[in-house]
């Protein structure tokens, strides 16, 4: 049995409130011991000056396969995940065809096994063919391994269908993940509706379009007792509704992306389509609200919404260019540079939102370094400065607005199931 001893690292495991310098022993594919010493029999990784975290989890990744392999494949997407320090990702089912059948779930899992990079958990469709009309065969999708349900890319629009989804998922204790958007309010929208859109004459996406849907979903979750997870929260209104709902013990969780915490609608003045995403980059007041909500626990998870698009698709007029940017390989650096360094979050809080919190929401036995747990470990150099160079990305796409940014913090060793899968 292979043994890996990670020595002298600052082990931060929010699942157990651990934050201290200690050794960590891996035997086979499990965490074997805390505080072990070398017997000379194991591979030793010196983590002095580094942070040893449970393997990072990104619960919002678009892998594009099947159907849009020109943007990303399961192999390239999982390679990008490893390079970003992620040992587990959950992929969104808006592929072509969408992941709405048992066979489709199995296809993704098989491809992920063949790629043999990081763990891939499949999120399946709420509705058949993602059409928002009839429930997908959720029991069978669950049996095939689906960990959650979403029609992301689009909201579950029909309130009755959403209600049924909440109710039906009670049998499996699985959350429904919703992309919160009132579509009548966002027609032809390209960017956040505000002062900048007024100046640029670009179609606006008002914050209220998100706020209204979040409030609807909370009401339906509360009425049914179902589990709701709001994806990519971007508005102060959503945050406030979530905060109130959590006080009432509604079963609701929520995520935010690094770009919604670091970029504003001012960026659109460049007309660069790498600033076009949905929800859109908001104004500074919304960003402040999201950062506060992350700090006070209203927002549970940092997820990337990694959305690869081939260059020829993004190099179009702003209304034709698709929404979204990639995020797997810049997430950790942005979190360290823009959230931890300025003091918005401490390391344990930040890592909780990328480890145990998404694991709990998805109901997967990941995100912990407890003895006996799967040996998924991310070793992070918190001090290293590096320049984002999209040409060096492992992702098949390069649609990022962060090219040229100097970031601090990077994964140096990524261990998945007791095997070192990535080093730099």
């Amino acid at each position: 049995m292979s043994r890996i001893l990670i020595q002298n690292g600052r082990v931060i495991d929010p699942s157990q409130q651990i934050d201290r310098v200690m050794n960590l022993l891996i035997e086979g594919d499990k965490i074997a011991a805390h505080g072990a010493h070398s017997t000379g029999q194991e591979m030793v990784i010196d983590a002095g000056g580094k942070i040893v975290s449970p393997g990072l989890i990104d619960m919002h990744v678009h892998l594009r396969e099947p159907g849009r392999e020109e943007d990303e494949t399961i192999r390239t997407g999982t390679a990008a995940a490893l390079a970003g320090g992620f040992t587990s990702i959950a992929c969104i089912p808006n592929t072509e065809p969408p992941i709405d059948t048992q066979a489709a779930v199995e296809f993704v899992r098989d491809q992920a096994n063949r790629a043999d990079n990081c763990n891939v958990f499949v999120i399946a469709c709420v509705s058949k063919n993602r059409e928002g009309k009839e429930l997908a065969e959720i029991a069978q999708l669950y049996a095939a391994g689906a960990v959650a349900f979403t029609d992301d890319g689009a909201p579950v629009y029909d309130a009755e269908l959403m209600r049924r989804a909440f109710e039906y998922c009670l049998m499996f204790d699985k959350p429904v993940l919703n992309h919160a958007e009132i579509l009548e309010l966002t027609k032809q929208g390209v960017m956040h509706e505000g002062l900048v859109s007024l100046q640029l004459g670009l179609g606006g996406i008002p914050a209220a379009a998100e706020d209204v849907m979040v409030s609807r979903d909370i009401a339906l979750a509360e009425a049914t007792g179902g589990r709701l997870h709001i994806m990519h929260v971007s508005t102060a209104g959503s945050v406030e509704a979530l905060r109130r709902a959590k006080k009432r013990n509604v079963r609701v969780t929520a995520e935010v992306t690094p770009h919604h915490l670091t970029l504003t609608d001012e960026c659109l003045r460049s007309f660069d389509s790498n600033y076009k995403m949905n929800p859109p980059l908001r104004s500074q007041d919304h960003i402040q609200a999201c950062i506060s909500a992350l700090a006070d626990g209203t927002l549970d998870v940092i997820a990337t919404d990694h959305a690869p698009h081939a260059q020829e698709k993004k190099m179009q007029e702003l209304d034709l260019a698709p929404f979204g940017i990639i995020g797997l390989e810049t997430c950790l650096g942005l979190v360290v540079t823009k959230l931890i360094e300025p003091g918005h979050l401490d390391w344990p809080t930040a890592l909780a939102k990328m480890t145990i919190n998404p694991a709990k929401i998805l109901g997967i036995s990941k995100g912990t370094l407890d003895v006996g747990a799967d040996a998924d470990v991310t070793i992070i150099d918190p001090d290293v400065r590096w320049t984002v160079d999209p040409a060096k990305f492992h992702s098949k796409s390069t649609n990022t607005p962060f090219g040229g940014w100097v970031l601090r913090g990077q994964a140096t060793t990524v261990i998945v199931g007791g095997r070192v899968k990535f080093t730099r």
């Binding site: 002062l195 007024l198 004459g201 670009l202 007309f271 190099m315 007029e317 209304d319």
Partner: protein
Amino acid sequence: MITDLIDLGPVPDAWKRRHLLGLEDLSAEELTLILDKATIFRKAIDEGHRKIPLLTGKTCVNLFFENSTRTRTSFSLAARRLGADTVDFSAGTSSLSKGETVIDTAKNIEAMGVDLVVVRHRTPGTPHLLSQNLDCSVVNAGDGPHEHPTQGLLDILTIRQRLGRVAGLTVAMVGDIAHSRTARSNIWGLKKLGAHVIVCGPSTLVSPRWQELGVEFSYSLDAILPRVDVLNLLRIQFERQFTRPFPSVREYATLYAMDRQRLAKTKDDILILAPGPINRGVEVTPDVADGAHSAILEQVTNGVAVRMAVLWLLAGRP
């Protein structure tokens, strides 16, 4: 030398730009330079100079992805009067329908040996996208509701000619502010040159947030009429509205159509502009449109002069 004849001189060193994408980022000095040169071209036109061959051997392409008669003709005339060759390209007859991207289309045209591309497009920022991908000069001839810099310039030139100044004037842009590139270019240009700007129209088309940009807003045309020096009556952009922002054209006209009764409430020397094409009876009644206060046709003549100045400044260096 024709340049001596019309007293123009070489392209001034103070002019550094390769593209004209909008008025928002131009300085007052740059705006004044264009207007001064346009004034010289206007004089030359009035004096009967049909050819002022300052751009001989240069090629100017009108790359229009959106319909236009007036602006395209104006740019073509301006280029031809300067001695440049002009080619028209319309999206309907191009390879765009074959799936080619706008950048590829523009690059292909540039590769044929082009000095200037005049682009009109439904989407804000497309001229900027092209300027980043082409080596030749790009002139924005209207990008969605964003900017239409030469329209802004010709409106301001007309104001300057008629009223002798821009600074200190109160100029009201009336109507569909939300969807108007003409409004935006006018606002940036007028403010830089020291005018006070009011945006006026129904609350679905005029945002109070304009105040944050130093622009007054009003929902009532009648309330502002007595104190404005210039009225610029914008066309209702029916084609850019997804839901109708007012209940009926009739109701709009009762609130905002510039008619004889409203004209009586204005200053005696009120100047009335309209970027055209106008919906007669909606924004302005025929008697006012064709009356003594209207400068609608003068705007058209100034359009050629402004475009000559812009093309010359961008491509007139040897």
